[in-house]
């Protein structure tokens, strides 16, 4: 649990950086088919939500609720999917995916469904602006 936080290299490669909330780094999954945002608590060596201390555990919940509401305000969506899996990337990270009935993976989970389709440059910039304006 000690040492300096460093974002996992696979998370870094697969995402675009939105910014930092008090506890978590906020990342946009680089997949234009979904509005998919990940919270990564900036704590070194933690893989499970239950291994955060109580203050951090509640802070992650609060940031998740804040993010969920921002995503609903911005994008609507049929259902928000929240998940902490970590089978491939052990660093604790919490997915938030706005789901639509016509998205490619509906009604199944997005994880492992199909390869990401990266954003075009201008498109990603617009989404990052929206998210920063709503969250930070």
């Amino acid at each position: 649990m000690h040492g300096e936080f460093k974002l996992d290299s696979r998370l870094e490669a697969d995402t675009l950086q939105v910014g930092d909330l008090p506890l978590s780094r906020v990342l946009l999954m680089n997949d234009r088919r979904y509005r998919w945002v990940i919270l990564v608590p900036r704590r070194a060596g933690v893989t499970e939500w239950m291994d955060l201390d109580e203050a951090d555990g509640i802070a992650l919940w609060r940031e998740s609720i804040q993010l969920g509401r921002a995503l609903r305000d911005l994008y609507g969506g049929r259902k928000l999917n929240i998940g902490a899996l970590g089978n491939l990337v052990p660093q604790l990270h919490l997915h938030h995916v706005v789901r639509e009935q016509d998205d490619p993976a509906w009604p199944g989970p997005v994880w492992g469904h199909s390869p990401a389709v990266p954003y075009a440059t201008g498109e990603a910039a617009a989404v990052l602006r929206e998210l920063r304006s709503a969250l930070l």
Copy 2:
């Protein structure tokens, strides 16, 4: 958000009842291939974690942490997967799945992977006893 809580009929059909925590009904997914436990807050008409009031939202987090620790103590496991999806069953429910590197869906998600393999009768009774003893 009003009215009386009634467990969704699909959740009822797919699970075995462990018991009640202060907020949540605790259900064992009837799939012998995983230790897979679901929390369902006993609140009518709620589909998203962000729509619980603050006290209930934190209570669900606390019960999730308590359950996660009990599952780790009982079953170990390589990784705990936590998910709130609700694409098929809108009633708010929070999955907790103990994952092993040799389980059928590893490293993908369990949701939508393959049909459940129900417990044999005596086998389910033993798991329910373990869970009740650890949680209730």
